[in-house]
Amino acid sequence: MAALLDIAGLRTEFATRAGPILPVNDVSLSVQVGETLALVGESGCGKSVTALSILRLLPRRVGRIAAGSIRLQGIDGDLLTLPEDRMRHVRGGAIGMIFQEPATCLNPLLTVGEQVAEPLRIHRNLSHAAAAREAVATLASVGLPGEDHQAGRYPHELSGGMRQRAMIAVALACHPRLLIADEPTTALDVTIQAQIMELLRALQRELGMAMLFITHNFALVADLAHRMAVMYAGRIVEHGPVAEVFSRPRHPYTHGLLACMPRLGQAHRLRAGNQALPTIAGSVPRLGALPAGCSFAPRCTLATDACRHDTPPLTTVSADHAVRCLRWAEL
């Protein structure tokens, strides 16, 4: 497999009143053609800022990309230095994107059909009529069938799940090779989430599209992704194949998060045995006040003086599995 997206040494800096912080710190990732890579972590870990950095969608007054390079197969040059007019064709063209809250992305004044047609006219130079026809077909492929006249509806006329489908249709209109999906089911009810996950899985299989799936939910990672990267305080602390990371997590943070994940039908047994739910002590550090050394050290039961001294390097565990921990071999 060839790398479709290759991110190397990405560093994004936010200016705050207390000085610069690094929500994304030395992040290197690659997404292979047709695979789903999950970027997973808790709030503030930098997963969404990574997505926005790839797309160069960070408002300039908020943050800037301080270092790194991002290459996308088929595009000459670095996405980070591409002229804005070419970058505009990458967004919505080669890379589609969907977000948590469709209401913030869909235009309330345009019907969903018009919104799916727009990228087709811009990126594929289709005529109005051809774009409209294709928009209806795209909407049908995400479960908004033409016979219901869904294309003529406005976003406010749709339920949350339907709006998410409409946003997926907009993102897929131009057959992107990469879909960036940032917490696409987090705002949905669980029975609707199950429908959208089914849809994403089916679309990916049919279109052979790669996906960067951003989530805080390890269960969704298990359900959808081939490989995963775990972020903590701006850095990738572990990455590897999903099955391997789940069965043998090598970072104490990954290990702890997997233990904390609620598993239906297990908690009442723990309670019957008078056992507490597994937790990770403490809380995520603020980016402006990161501890020295490994950012996880203050919460880690394995931490030693060495951990509190230097940031551990990303160490190779096996062919495609790496971890940023000095004591991974003992876990």
């Binding site: 949350g160 089914e198 609620p262 598993r263 239906l264 009442h268 309670r271 019957a272 597994p278 995520v284």
Partner: protein, 323 residues
């Protein structure tokens, strides 16, 4: 249970609308809901959006006036209680909100936040109130020096601890916790649930624990009430509900929860379509538009809540579903 602390009978709440939803439709937020919470018992209230779980909680505390039905707390009819007595009763009924940040005044110190309820209730001297605030702070495992700090100086999990401390400082016997961990990260969620469990056990608190997440209510609840579109679908002791769910909705809800195991079969969406608008709920069984087992009878008549085993009831016409 012989003498329930909270007794809800036939609770109904319709929200009228003044234009926003148009066409003068009533939103049927809660429809004929009955359940009890015993002394020291934890009841989980689970449902998706529009299930009426928050409205039920607000009615139970009389923060919202019900349209119909009876709510009795410790024997008193909450709906007919005079203001003075209601205020006294309020001390015993406390609320923990989803996002403590919205409910903690940013201009007050922790000491101010924790003693405010005591002052309103006219409990204790200044020094005694401070003392009780400190005890509450210790109970939620926050350091005593938190007293002089402001809410924004705390993390999300710590703020939820503050929200719990504020509720506990009045030494209530009934706590309503409305999605208390939904805004928190997974690693913090379990901390807060463990804390609530410890406090509940130590203080003998009764609790109504509300969540959209079946996995979250499981650990704390003695019994679970599953709601859909304002109606009770199933009630059961926790172990029964998780090991032998009877209602198609409960089963679908469980099947939809993703499993953190890459080897597990993909989750299947057992329910088709969307949750209907509560302003226009389906006839008969409210689930019939999405239920794979619905029959003509389900469209016609509302199934009553029937006991299928001791303490286990379901509102479903079908008794012939595979176990």
């Amino acid at each position: 249970m012989s003498d329930p602390l909270l007794q809800v009978r036939g609770l109904t709440k319709h929200f009228g609308n003044r234009g926003l939803f148009g066409r003068g439709r009533l939103v049927h937020a809660v429809e004929d809901v009955s359940f009890d919470v015993g002394r020291g018992e934890v009841v989980g209230l689970v449902g998706e959006s529009g299930s009426g779980k928050t409205t039920i909680a607000r009615c139970a505390l009389r923060l919202t006036e019900p349209t119909g039905g009876d709510i009795r707390f410790a024997g008193s009819d909450l709906r007919r209680l005079p203001r003075r007595e209601l205020k006294q009763l309020r001390r015993r009924l406390q609320y923990v909100f989803q996002d403590p940040f919205d409910s903690l005044s940013p201009r007050m110190t922790v000491a101010g936040i924790l003693t405010e309820g005591l002052s309103i209730q006219g409990i204790g001297s200044h020094a005694e109130r401070r003392d009780r605030a400190l005890q509450a702070l210790t109970a939620v495992e926050l350091p005593p020096d938190s007293m002089a700090r402001y809410p924004h100086q705390f993390s999300g999990g710590q703020r939820q601890r503050l929200g719990i401390a504020r509720a506990l400082v009045l030494q209530p016997d009934f706590l309503v916790a409305d999605e208390p961990v939904s805004a928190l990260d997974v690693s913090i969620q379990a901390q807060i649930i463990n804390l609530l469990r410890g406090l509940q056990q130590r203080m003998g608190l009764a609790m109504l624990f509300i969540s959209h997440d079946l996995a979250v209510v499981e650990y704390l609840s003695d019994r679970v009430v599953v709601l859909y579109l304002g109606r009770v679908m199933e009630v059961a002791p926790t172990v029964r509900l998780y090991e032998a769910p009877q209602h198609p909705y409960t089963r679908a809800l469980m099947a939809a929860v993703p499993v953190p195991d890459p080897g597990a079969p993909h989750r299947v969406a057992l329910l088709r379509g969307d949750i209907p608008n509560p302003a226009n709920p389906p006839s008969g069984c409210v689930l019939h538009t999405r239920c794979p087992f619905a029959t003509a009878e389900c469209q016609r008549a509302v199934p009553p809540l029937r006991e299928v085993a001791p303490g286990h009831a379901k509102a479903c016409w079908r008794d012939d579903l595979p176990a």
